[in-house]
Structures are given as structure tokens and as C-alpha cells.
């Protein structure tokens, strides 16, 4: 063990059926440092954290902690706490109906009697010390989310922790609250606590962190001192594309002839979503495939949700074929020929217990209206047609959609929206979590739809896919549209540089 490190993980492996979630991952945390753990979804960040906190049991490797020469065994979150590893999760896991002090000491009092007076006094002292603006006897629910987050941290710190894990603590905080949280973090750092900071926000990493460890596909990419790793490098490490000598992939499709002078199929001006994105302008033309890109949490999904009316929209103008319209709810968008395949297939896409057939006809049925059900025979015909067209693997059209594989579920939802015959189709991460073959099929389908004169917005975490399919990319960072790339600018290098922004 290095002499100033508080935690060392060596050769950690974790396997799930069919997946190598972690493969020989090393991680070192030093005393008094804030260490960012970075990686895109599925890179293994949360698995590593869960191994460290005893939620998962590792399949290989060793964990050392300061003060013990032998590797430690962590079998449960309780074990982790006992050896000084505390975690604060993205969602507050405290009880809003208890007081601040009760929350800080719940489950930690010894014996049957509790000296509330002493506990309140202790809590008050600790809050003061950490500069947290809360009163011990106050109900937790009446504090702001940021303060609740800090109280969770205070609880962790008070349990004598040497290692503090903050898992996406800033995702529901505004800028000022983030600043307060960072102040607290720097204070703890000075006290010698090692902090592991998991976040998607690049700006924040460069603001407070000392070191970065990057994971990708369950493997360690490397550990870097923050000064040595410019943003662009970090992005390329996370995405797994070498920044300099990357071969630019030529688009499969022939020259995309899009008449940019014509009236856009869809246009919005200063569309103002309520989910943390800044107002943005956007337009798409007939036969065009465009993409929204940016890291996770950059607001790319929020933008398309605002277009579809999936989330509440505060203001802005929307024009369909040049005519102003109001889109307040999904049905409005559907009636104007917009379809939306959501990012979270399980939560927002499929209706699990319903049959493949009902899932396929759902959108068309809703557009037809409550009093005009599609006849059974007709529905059967639609379902069979699309099962064949998209090559959906299902026992029958009667099978509940939840029993299909992920890729086939995705195809069912695609079928649903194709059946609705939209003029503008939004696909948010249609290729996530599905096998390669299906990914290619879906990309081909997107290009085919465009050649038939439909407009498509295609979002994917994989930049290759976007380059291959899109003729124009809107780049977002931290909820803002920061650039638009088309034509020759559509190269990995240029895209990553725009995504990273800053000093590139």
C-alpha cells in the first residue's frame, strides 16, 4: 500500500451472467483528495461502487484500507460502514418526516434508551462545524434538497469515515447549491477524508477534483492527475476513441440531398423545457436525419422530450410545415405527425403485460380515438405485417411484450411508431442495450425512412452510429445547445471537441 493512500482496490473482477461487469480494475484513493470516477453508462462505475460498499460481492481482487495490512472483507453495507466507507446516493435515502438530528443518528444509537438532548447537541455541533445551514430539531423534509444532501454527508462523516463516496450528488441541485456542496467537500478534504466523486458533469469534475479514474466497458482505462488530462482527452478516453489517429468513418448512405431552403417539417424557436435545459432553436427538413449529441445528462433527451410535449414546456414557438401550432401533450405532437421512441424502454416504452399486438397498435389506436377501436382482424394484420417487416422474434402476436428480449421489445415500439405513419420520427437511444445485429438493422431502417421522405432525429451514445446515420448534429453541454455540426464537420474529432468544449 502506498503510504498516503486510504483505499486501494487491486484487480477487482465482478461477473454477472453473460457480462463481465468489472475486469481487473485497480483504484487508489489518497488521503485528502477528491477523486472523480468517470465513464459512460455501463462502464462499471456503479458496479465498482457497489463492490466497495458491500452491495455486490466481488469475484476477484483485493481491497485494502488504511490501517490494516491484510485485505479487508466487505460482505454488507454495514461492514463497509464499520471500516469507514460511507456512501451518499443520488436519491436522498434519509427520512423526510424525521428531524435532522434523528436522521443523523438513526440506527446508530446503542442500547434501548436514547438521550435525545445529547444527540441534538451533538448534531448541532457537527452542523456548525461543517457549516451546514440546518437546525437539529428541524424536520428534514423542510430543508432544501442540497441541505438534505449535505446532512446525508454529515451523517456519513460523523460515522468516522475515511472514504466518502458521493454518487451523482449534484444531479438535482442548482448552481448555487452545487457551490455550497463543493465548499463542504473541500472542507472535508482538508480534514483528510478521501472522496470518490461520481458525476456526469465535466465542468464539476474540473472544478473540484484532484484526480480522475476512467473506466470503460468494465475495464480500467487509467488514472490521471487532473492537470494532465485535458477535457477532450477525457471525453475520448470515456468514449473509447483515440482522439488523434481516429479513422473517420464515411457515411454509408449516398449524398444526402436535403433542401435546406424549404420550409422545415418541424421548427421550434426558443422552446423552453422545464427539465433543466435552456431555451433552444431547432429545425428539421424533409428527408433529413439529424442527431442530438452530448454526454449523458447534457440534456439531449430533455430536448426531444420537449419537442414531443412529453415534459411540460414553458414557452417558445413551434411551427409544423411553417404553421404555428401548440404542443402541450404527447397527443398534440402525435396528431401533428411526430412520433417519439423514448430512451427508457422499460419505463416509458413498452406496456409490459399487454400483447405484442396491443403494443404495436397502441399509438395508432390512440390517434384514431376512444370510440373507434381497431378491429381484432385489422390489429392482427398490422401486427403480423410489422412482425415480419422488422423481423421481430416472438412466439406470436399474443405474447406479452415483456417476455421478449430487449432488442425485440425495441422493435415492437419502433413498429408502433412506424404504424402511426409519422412525418417526423424521434428515436432516443433506439440502439441502447440491444445486440449488434439489431443495431445495424435499426440504423438501416432510419436511413431507409429518410430516403422515403420522413424526417428523423436519431440519438445515440455511440458517436459512430450518429456519424453513420445523421447529416447534422446538434451538440449539447450541460443543458445548452453549444454547436451544430454538418457535412465535413461530422468527424469524431470535431464532435468530441465540441462536446468537451472548454479549452479544446
Amino acid at each position: 500500500m502506498e503510504k498516503n493512500s486510504v483505499l486501494e482496490m487491486r484487480g477487482i473482477c465482478k461477473y454477472f451472467p453473460g457480462v463481465r461487469a468489472l475486469e481487473q480494475v485497480d483504484f487508489t484513493l489518497r488521503e485528502g483528495e477528491i477523486h472523480a470516477l468517470m465513464g459512460e453508462n455501463g462502464a462499471g462505475k456503479s458496479t465498482l461502487i457497489k463492490v466497495l460498499t458491500g452491495v455486490y460481492h466481488k469475484d476477484g481482487g483485493e481491497v485494502y484500507i488504511k490501517g490494516s495490512s491484510k485485505p479487508v472483507v466487505i460482505r454488507s453495507p454495514q461492514d463497509a460502514q464499520n471500516i469507514g466507507i460511507s456512501t451518499v446516493y443520488q436519491e436522498i435515502t434519509l427520512c423526510p418526516n424525521l428531524t435532522v438530528a434523528e436522521n443523523m443518528y438513526i440506527g446508530r444509537t446503542k442500547g434501548h434508551f436514547t438521550n435525545w438532548k445529547k444527540i441534538n447537541a451533538d448534531a448541532g455541533r457537527l452542523l456548525d462545524e461543517l457549516g451546514i445551514p440546518a437546525i437539529p430539531a428541524q424536520q428534514l423534509g423542510s430543508c432544501s434538497i442540497a441541505v438534505q444532501q449535505m446532512i446525508a454527508i454529515a451523517r456519513a462523516v460523523d460515522m468516522n469515515c475515511k472514504v466518502l463516496i458521493l454518487d451523482e450528488p449534484t444531479s438535482s441541485l442548482d448552481e448555487q447549491e452545487v457551490a455550497k456542496l463543493f465548499k463542504l467537500m473541500t472542507g472535508l478534504k482538508k480534514k483528510g477524508v478521501g472522496i470518490i466523486f461520481v458525476t456526469h458533469f465535466l465542468e464539476q469534475v474540473y472544478e473540484v477534483c484532484d484526480r480522475i479514474t476512467v473506466l470503460r466497458d468494465g475495464k480500467l482505462v487509467g488514472e490521471y492527475v487532473i492537470e494532465d488530462l485535458p477535457r477532450v482527452q477525457l471525453v475520448s478516453k470515456m468514449l473509447g476513441k483515440d482522439f488523434d489517429d481516429m479513422a473517420d468513418i464515411k457515411s454509408d448512405s449516398d449524398s444526402k440531398q436535403i433542401d435546406y431552403g424549404s420550409t422545415p417539417v418541424y421548427e421550434c424557436r426558443q422552446l423552453d423545457g422545464t427539465t433543466g435545459i435552456k431555451p433552444f432553436d431547432f429545425a428539421i427538413h424533409k428527408g433529413e436525419v439529424n442527431g442530438f449529441t452530448g454526454l449523458l445528462g447534457s440534456g439531449r433527451s430533455e430536448c426531444v422530450r420537449a419537442i414531443f410535449g412529453a415534459d411540460k414546456v414553458n414557452g417558445g414557438e413551434v411551427l409544423i410545415d411553417g404553421k404555428p401550432v401548440k404542443i402541450n401533450k404527447p397527443l398534440d405532437a402525435m396528431k401533428h405527425g411526430i412520433s417519439y421512441l423514448p430512451e427508457d424502454r422499460k419505463r416509458d416504452g413498452i406496456v409490459g403485460d399487454l400483447s405484442v399486438r396491443d403494443n404495436i397498435i397502441l399509438a395508432l389506436q390512440v390517434m384514431k380515438g376512444f370510440f373507434k377501436p381497431i378491429s381484432r382482424a385489422q390489429a392482427e394484420q398490422f401486427a403480423d405485417e410489422y412482425i415480419k417487416l422488422l423481423n421481430i422474434k416472438t412466439a406470436s402476436s399474443e405474447t406479452p411484450v415483456k417476455s421478449l428480449s430487449g432488442g425485440n421489445q425495441q422493435k415492437v415500439i419502433l413498429a408502433r411508431w412506424l404504424l402511426a405513419n409519422p412525418s417526423y420520427l424521434i428515436l432516443d437511444e433506439p440502439t441502447r442495450g440491444i445486440d449488434i445485429g439489431t443495431k445495424v438493422e435499426i440504423q438501416k431502417l432510419v436511413l431507409k425512412l429518410a430516403s422515403e421522405g420522413k424526417s428523423v432525429t436519431f440519438i445515440s451514445s455511440e458517436i459512430d452510429e450518429m456519424i453513420r446515420t445523421c447529416s447534422r448534429l446538434v451538440v449539447l453541454r450541460d443543458g445548452k445547445v453549444v454547436g451544430e455540426l454538418k457535412g465535413d464537420e461530422l468527424t469524431q474529432n470535431k464532435i468530441m471537441a465540441t462536446i468537451a468544449g472548454g479549452e479544446s
Binding site: F308, A310, K329, P330, L331, M334, Y340, P342, R347, D348, G349, I350, V351, G352, D353, L354, D358, L362, A363, Q365, V366, M367, G369, F370, F371, P373, R416
Partner: protein
């Protein structure tokens, strides 16, 4: 040869399996067991006779007629309860109390200012329509709490469960109106000259209406979709709140019809006992039908059969001189058995057990 044999075996086993897997299997099986039990214990149970009733004309009588007649209110309520369960994933426990309100409204309209009206002060149809409107308003109240204020259905309807009977009493100034015009009794008993009890016709009418509604509207698809996944329903253009709200209004309508039958049977009302505990029987009917009480997919026929099973059970128990105080205990035992048997976890275990007992079958299946 042998492969042929295996094939027939398999298809036979598969048919049996698919029948058992059917949701409707449990309530039908329960009904058959009850029928079988009565056949063995006392075949006269099924006797139907044509006897003159107190008004002096011939009507059908017998246990079976009584079951079909007495189950009417429950069947009608089960229709609405199934829809509410499907869309909201919860149950309305206020239907008994709102039946009291519905009945009270009817009597109030029919009696006018008198408490003992010898002649009807308003046409029965007017009273019925007013009762429908009032019941639907109370349904809408429950629906608003559940759909728009996102209160758990059982908690939301607890309000009317508690207050309903007081409201019913208040509507008639806490008096007990009695209707002496025999014409009003036709709807809950017999129409002169027709030997079949009138509630049976009303129930059939309700079943036809709901069957048509399920066929010619998207009520089934929408309420199932909302019950299974409200997020994705919303993104497909359905308004989940509205659908939940509508199911409660429909249940309100069912309550009105059930209340109408109830008061017509007696031509009067007792606020504190009318339709007492019927909400639990209605929920039970939905559960017996194998419908998930957490919402989602539903089978209306199964619920309706479930309602008849409950009445069949009650009548059987009465026949064997179980006192009305003890009857709930007996019912509970039967309910435990049925509900446990229809629980998915038990069915899965039974499937495993079958595999263990007949491993040969499983092997032959794999071979094919």
C-alpha cells in the same frame, strides 16, 4: 409410432395445461366444485318450481333462481370494480355507503315531501336518472382524489366509506321513507305475469351494455395500458388521469343501478345496514376472477363469474343453516383457499411439483 404417441400425449397435456392456465379457470372451477358439492349432498338444491307468490301469480322459485337474483347487485358492482382495479391499481371501498346514498336519493325523489307516499310523487325513471347523476358525482369525487390528487384509492374512498351512510340519512332528514305503491317493487322483485325476477333482466342489460362498451370503445385497452404502465400510456397520447377518473364514474353508475335494485326490493331503506360489506364482496369477486388487484390486465367474464360464486357460496351456507353471524367465517375459509390457489407463486410451485412428480413427461417434451 412412439413419437406419435408422445405427440398426442404432449398435445393432451398441453391442452389441459392451457385450460388450467386460463385466468377464468379458477372461478369456473370454484363454481363447479360448489355445484358438485350440492349435487352430492342434496340434489334437491337444484329444484326449480313454479309457485304462486304472495301476489298470487306464478313465479319461479328455488335456490338457483335465488342465487341468480340475489347476486344481481354484486355482479353489477363487480363490473365497475374490475375497471377501477384495472386502471387505478386499487379498489373503491365506498360502494356500500354510496349505494345507501343512491337508494336514499331515489326514495327522496319518489316520496317528495311525504315520508310515506301512497302514490309516487315522480316517475320512477326520473328518480332513477337523478340517482344516476348523484352516484356519478360521488364516483367523480372519488375519481378526482385518485386520479388528480394521486391519493391511494383505498384511502381516497375511505372518505365516502365513512361519510356515505350519514349523507344518505341526511338526504331524508334521518327518516325512513316507505313507498306503498306496489309498482315500485317491480324492479327488485317480479313484474306481474313474468316468472323471472326483474333484477336478472337488469343484470343482463348491464352485462350487455358493458360487453358492447368493451367491444366498441377502447375502454379495455386504455384502462389496461394505464394500469400497467402510466408513463408509457401518457407518451402514447393517453391521458391516464382521465381514464382513471372515467372508471370511477362508471363505477358510480353501477352503484346507482345496484342501489336502485336494493331499495326496490324492500321499498324502503335502512341506512346503516343496506348493502353492508358489499364492497368487500365486490373486491372479492374481482380477486376470485383472477384479476390482479394491483391493476393492469382484466377479464370481465371472470369477475362476473366470481360474483356468482360468492352468492352461490352464501346461499349454500344458508341452506345448511349456518347463521348469518357465522357465515363470514366460513366464507373466509373458502376465500383463503381460492385466493391462495390462484396466486401466481402457488401456481408456479405446483408446476414445479408436477415436473418433479412426472419427470418422464418433461424429458419426452425436451426430446420433441
Amino acid at each position: 409410432m412412439s413419437s406419435n404417441k408422445i405427440k398426442t400425449n404432449k398435445s393432451f397435456a398441453d391442452i389441459a395445461k392451457s385450460i388450467i392456465r386460463q385466468q377464468i379457470f379458477i372461478p369456473i372451477a370454484a363454481l363447479l366444485i360448489l355445484v358438485l358439492f350440492n349435487l352430492i349432498a342434496d340434489p334437491t338444491f337444484f329444484q326449480i318450481t313454479l309457485q304462486p307468490n304472495s301476489d298470487g301469480f306464478n313465479v319461479l322459485s328455488g335456490n338457483i333462481i335465488s342465487i341468480i337474483d340475489r347476486a344481481s347487485e354484486l355482479v353489477i358492482l363487480a363490473i365497475g370494480m374490475t375497471l377501477v382495479t384495472s386502471a387505478s391499481g386499487g379498489q373503491d371501498i365506498s360502494v356500500g355507503a354510496t349505494i345507501a346514498i343512491a337508494g336514499s336519493v331515489i326514495l327522496r325523489v319518489l316520496c317528495g315531501t311525504n315520508t310515506r307516499a301512497d302514490t309516487l310523487q315522480a316517475p320512477v325513471i326520473v328518480a332513477f336518472l337523478i340517482c344516476c347523476i348523484v352516484s356519478m358525482i360521488f364516483g367523480a369525487f372519488n375519481g378526482t382524489l385518485v386520479a388528480y390528487f394521486k391519493i391511494q384509492p383505498m384511502v381516497a374512498t375511505l372518505i365516502m366509506f365513512t361519510a356515505g351512510r350519514s349523507i344518505a340519512a341526511w338526504i331524508n332528514n334521518n327518516e325512513l321513507p316507505v313507498i306503498n305503491d306496489p309498482k315500485f317493487g317491480y324492479y327488485g322483485n317480479f313484474i306481474p305475469g313474468i316468472p323471472v325476477p326483474t333484477p336478472v333482466f337488469i343484470t343482463i342489460a348491464c352485462l350487455i351494455v358493458i360487453a358492447l362498451a368493451l367491444k366498441f370503445t377502447n375502454l379495455r385497452l386504455y384502462s389496461q395500458a394505464v394500469g400497467i404502465n402510466p408513463h408509457s400510456s401518457r407518451l402514447n397520447g393517453i391521458n391516464p388521469q382521465m381514464i382513471k377518473f372515467i372508471t370511477f364514474v362508471i363505477l358510480g353508475l353501477c352503484v346507482a343501478v345496484a342501489g336502485f335494485i336494493k331499495v326496490s326490493r324492500l321499498s324502503t331503506i335502512n341506512y346503516s345496514v343496506v348493502a353492508k360489506d358489499i364492497e368487500m364482496d365486490a373486491i372479492l369477486a374481482v380477486a376470485l376472477g383472477g384479476n390482479a388487484l394491483g391493476g393492469g390486465k382484466f377479464n370481465m367474464t371472470a369477475s362476473v363469474i366470481g360474483a356468482y360464486v360468492i352468492q352461490f357460496l352464501t346461499t349454500t351456507l344458508y341452506k345448511y343453516d349456518v347463521s348469518s353471524a357465522e357465515i363470514s367465517a366460513y366464507k373466509a375459509v373458502v376465500v383463503i383457499i381460492l385466493v391462495v390457489l390462484s396466486a401466481p407463486i402457488v401456481r408456479e410451485k405446483m408446476g414445479d411439483l408436477k415436473k418433479k412428480l412426472f419427470p418422464a413427461k418433461a424429458v419426452s417434451k425436451e426430446a420433441v
